[in-house]
Amino acid sequence: MPATKKAAKPGLKQVGLPEETLRGLYYNLLKTRTLDERFRKLFRQGRFAGTYFSAVGQEATTVGPTYGLRDDDILASSHREIGAAVTKGIPLVNIVAQVYARANSPDKGKTHPCHYSWRDKGVFTPASTLAGQTVVGTGCAMGFKLQKKDNVVVAFFGEGATARGGWHEAVNYAGIHKLPIVYICQNNLWAESVPAHMQAGIENFSDRAKAYGFPGITIDGNDIVLVHKTAAEAIKRARAGEGPTLIECKTYRYYGHSEIDPADYRREEEIEEWKKKDTVTRAERMMMDLGLLTDQQREAMIEDINHEIDEAVNICEKEKYVEPEEAYNDVYSKYFPVRRDEY
């Protein structure tokens, strides 16, 4: 019967998001994945130094909450949020430049391949001290509230980072003052080599919100629609002055902690299990079911994205490194010159 056949495939109404949003979410998922895989390849080819924190597998948890944020909303991200950098709109060429540490890098090559910052889009930079930016991000929310602005902060961290004292101090403060902030815990089950159950004696990390007096919710972090809707609702609440929300997204990273980690502490079956729930494939199936995407369109999109990445990589590989004397800059404001030693 045509009627039941139709019911099996959800329509836009059941999904509950406008077509444009779905297209935007899917595009950013695809772009993040494509770029992330490219970075892994480039790193393995020895094209840039340091290491790289891939987020392949957990794109929905960063794209979902970031999509639709205003430029003057703050993104307080950590080391595995390439999806947020892409979605918040840091120009692709500058994301690549960050990884390459070239002169066109936002930080002029001073920090780390995965520490994206871009002031025009409200993205400050993570420090490697885990949960450090959760504290700063909460301070941004405090600043917005003090200035009676309706901006919000979206703060990302892994489940491992929630074990740190500073994390608790920050969310505690946000709870006391009902700050406009949404905390996104990307629970990818592992903190480097340590499983989630060794970070906390609770099953759902969102339970922690209860202790701080605001809502916490655990969701399937590989369901882009669910992640976006949940976060958007929380962002709306935050903007309206109703305080923070902690959203735990259960998800999974396919590769090692960073590219130098073979991740042999995990079982192969675990990885395979999660790949069946892959967020990009699921989004694709949904988009096709809704009639918003065809195979050809998908191929064309990937080609476009790859083309854009090729161009950015090309620009960055040709770009110079900054002069080493740049090391002396950005220490203080212009009033306090730094002593320059000559050796």
Binding site: T111, F124, A127, V135, G137, N172, D330
Partner: protein, 327 residues
Amino acid sequence: MKKTSFIEAITQALYEEMERDERVFMIGQDIGVYGGVFKATKGLLDRFGAERVIDAPISEVYIAGGSVGAALVGCRPVAEIQFADFITPSMDQIIQQMAKMRYRTGGQWSCPMTIRVCCGGDVGGGLYHSQINEQWFFSQPGLIVLLPSTAYDAKGLLKSAIRGEDPVIFFEHKRLYRWIKEELPDEDFTVPIGKAAIRKEGEDITLVAYGLMAHRSMEAAAGLEKEGISAEVIDMRTILPWDRETIFESVKKTSKVVLVQEGTKTGGVMAEVGAAIAEELFDYLDAPVSRVCGLDVPAIPFAPPMEHFFLPNAEKITNVVKKVLEY
């Protein structure tokens, strides 16, 4: 004219800066209704309300790191750490976020904020209420570290800190709070960051100090004067970035120098100042660079005789000066 105490000068600076610029707000423990354990923030809550004078939970990480965030989005936070002894949890945020924000974003973001820290011994405060630890921050370029010794400087430097574009740690020596009093101008004034003060001109030897030790050095200099020894006393005021020019000029003039600091000797501020003098002014020196410092022990001890045994004083400074002069 009425004399203003060191702590009143601080209260005035806070009051006036909050009046002047509505972006300025304060956060710290017990700073609201209570007015701070030393009453530095007395009356500010009444005037500016609980939104701008925030009683923080006992969260030193948040007090520092939250202020960084607020500074990023346009506020001018003035945070208070009740005792320097309790700043260790904040170190994470101060060193990793606050001090490096400008650098690690290639100058895109900065942290125009001030952290006030009450510090110092000679008050019988006990081991965990008497530490002075400016040296922990001295080795962190990106930070500005201030430690005034007069009411005028306390007010003027705090205003410069609040108005500036850089992250500042502002140490207040609690021994000076009520002991030091002076007449202050009625009109608005600031004291420039990065400039030392020559407290007393002299010809025979240079004494470099800051904070309580600037006073102890002045006492020593006064005694030496009676014996016909003319000491020049320099008060650093800004610990980082420190005023090499003023100190170097003085050492070039006198050719002898004694450096005085309250904190432990090893790894202290004066270790760097001394090394720099030895490195750059070797030809000018007529005697070894010498130091008078707190003892190299984990912290300032509690029992009064032991506390005074730990601390540099005029007598110790005088002894070392004489040794240097006899060299």
